[in-house]
Symmetry: C2
Subunit: 123 residues, 2 copies
């Protein structure tokens, strides 16, 4: 299944869609959490279109704020993320995805998680 | 220890401080994750001052965007969060805190996590 539009992996109802609030730039923060290790891997942003693609394909698609373009995570690096579960918070202004992380990891540095640095370690 | 300024719980070095990027509103997103269950509890925002208070006290202090004021989580509800570990991501524009959640939970609805709703459950 690669998001051919006929059978979305996860169905977003109209009520759910209306519960999700995008900010002034049309974006909502999306947290990716490893479904196996439960590590928080990264936070990036989704536009309405990238959220729809993510749910349709069952694969994380972000909006790159630095490049101002859709970012199908892993298309270049191979480190893509399959979606096992999609959640939204009480205010509807943050998304949480439980994912299966492919490749080396989530981070462009080669680390498994983007949160590899701990405050106080340099003290 | 209640943040009397003499002995911060977690020491933020100058280099670390310079690695953290606040957005145009002077805020950075902060994810709170339960250190025991590894559940993602909530995402809220921190100002530089609330981050300093959080690290000094070892207790989560956010910036409330709706009330435009410092928000010492749990002062009203009792549901405060002790910080066990503070992390920052590769870009320095998101913080991750491993916390011990007190009280009923993180969410104002009474749920343990703010991410209690799953997309597709209503389908």
């Amino acid at each position: 299944m690669s998001g051919d539009g006929t059978s979305p992996k996860i169905l977003l109802t109209e009520a759910e869609r209306n519960s999700i609030t995008f900010n002034g730039d049309g974006l909502v923060p999306a947290i990716a959490q490893d479904a196996t290790t439960m590590e928080v891997l990264m936070l990036a942003w989704m536009s309405r279109e990238s959220l729809d693609m993510t749910l349709a394909e069952g694969r994380m698609v972000y909006w790159s704020r630095s490049r101002s373009e859709l970012w199908r995570k892993g298309d270049t690096s191979g480190d893509h993320q399959d979606v096992l579960e999609a959640r939204y918070d009480c205010d509807g202004d943050t998304l949480l995805f439980l994912v299966h992380q492919h490749g080396r990891g989530a981070c462009h540095t080669g680390e498994r998680t983007c949160f590899f640095r701990r405050i106080g370690d340099d003290a």
